[in-house]
């Protein structure tokens, strides 16, 4: 059992390292290791017909680091405490409005298309950075893996269609661009915000973390409103 766990962890870390190196070489969003490494793991599980439970004998040990990973987000937020303090109303107001509009528009569209409760609960944290979104989804009774995929799609939407969306809504200020992309598309949006300047980048990364914290409070509230 222990040997199986070690072998799975070793294989998983190796796959990640190789995929991260490939991404470093080409820098194309579609080659991001979060996408390629996960895809490869899924293909291997399907090809060798390994049940997910067997994979998780090792996978759970990597999973355990999600908790400290979320806690470590306090470090970049602390480094940007001055940006946060100077722009507190804009950041809090922007992320909270974005979160609520995002959650209710997602629920409304999914309900109109007739999706079941599990999908709707998994959709709620879609604009939140993956490690936090996974934990919110799990505690709401959603499915963490679905949430993770939804978060990726929301991220790619911001990274690829972001410039068109910003034009459509006539967003021109660097602060607005940063808060919009960081709130809706987390790390992928923040990478895009860099192209608009230093201020967009720092606002986006602050908005991303604040959105993760605020979303942890609003998601259970919205879920309760829907299904209590």
């Amino acid at each position: 059992m222990i040997l199986t766990a070690i072998a799975i962890v070793f294989a998983n870390v190796s796959i990640y390292v190789v995929m991260a190196l490939i991404y470093k070489r080409f820098r194309i969003p579609l080659l991001m290791p979060a996408l390629t490494a996960t895809f490869l793991v899924v293909v291997l599980l399907l090809y060798f017909e390994i049940p997910y439970e067997t994979y998780m004998i090792g996978g759970q040990w990597i999973n355990k680091l999600l908790g400290p990973a979320v806690v470590s987000l306090a470090y970049p937020l602390y480094n940007q405490r001055h940006v946060l303090r100077r722009n507190l109303p804009a950041v809090l107001g922007g992320t909270l409005s974005g979160l609520l509009v995002g959650m209710f528009s997602g629920i409304l569209l999914a309900l109109l298309m007739g999706f079941p409760k599990q999908y709707i609960l998994s959709l709620l944290p879609k604009s939140i950075t993956t490690p936090v979104a996974i934990q919110i989804s799990g505690s709401l009774g959603g499915e963490s893996s679905l949430t993770s995929v939804f978060v990726m799609i929301a991220g790619f939407t911001g990274a690829i269609a972001g410039p068109y969306i910003l034009k459509l809504f006539r967003v021109r200020s660097e602060i607005g661009i940063g808060i919009g992309l960081g709130t809706a598309s987390h790390a992928l949006g923040t990478a895009k915000a860099l192209e608009y300047g230093e201020q967009s980048l720092s606002m986006s990364s602050v908005a991303m973390t604040v959105c993760a914290i605020a979303g942890s409070f609003t998601a259970p509230l919205v879920a309760w409103l829907l299904y209590h």
Partner: protein, 134 residues
């Protein structure tokens, strides 16, 4: 000895997430324990109870490998592959539309809140005249 320092700091971060989990259980909060740990650490950093050098190397190391830690949870999608066929694909439309309005709402309301917060001092008693001029 760099690696020892990183491991010790990651252990400290892990303790914060355990403490958050304990608070969650104790108060029956519906919020993930790790988020409570994040808030706890952030407050202690701001109050200078925890110096930033106690966590900076561990945090930087974890954040550099962040995507690795959510591969196992995401790989659970093997049991939900129907998502990628038929009706499930409609969720992409939901996600793209909802993300677009989120960007618009967050961007515009942030500017509204920023302007509103700047208007507040002007609306205070004694400065009313100035407010009317503007």
């Amino acid at each position: 000895m760099k690696i020892v320092r990183i491991i010790a700091q990651v252990v400290l971060l892990y303790l914060f997430s355990l403490a958050g989990e304990a608070v969650k259980q104790l108060l029956h909060l519906p919020i993930p324990g790790s988020i409570i740990g994040l808030l706890l650490l952030f407050i202690l950093l701001l109050c200078r109870v925890v110096p930033v050098r106690w966590i900076e190397h561990g945090s930087a190391a974890i954040l550099a490998y962040l995507p690795l830690f959510f591969i196992p949870a995401t790989a659970g999608i093997v049991d939900h592959l129907s998502l990628f066929s038929g009706k499930g694909l409609l969720l992409i439309v939901v996600l793209v539309l909802s993300t677009a309005v989120t960007i618009g709402a967050a961007a515009h309301s942030s500017r509204w809140f920023a302007r509103w917060s700047m208007d507040v001092p002007r609306a205070l008693p004694g400065t009313e005249e100035k407010g009317k001029e503007a």
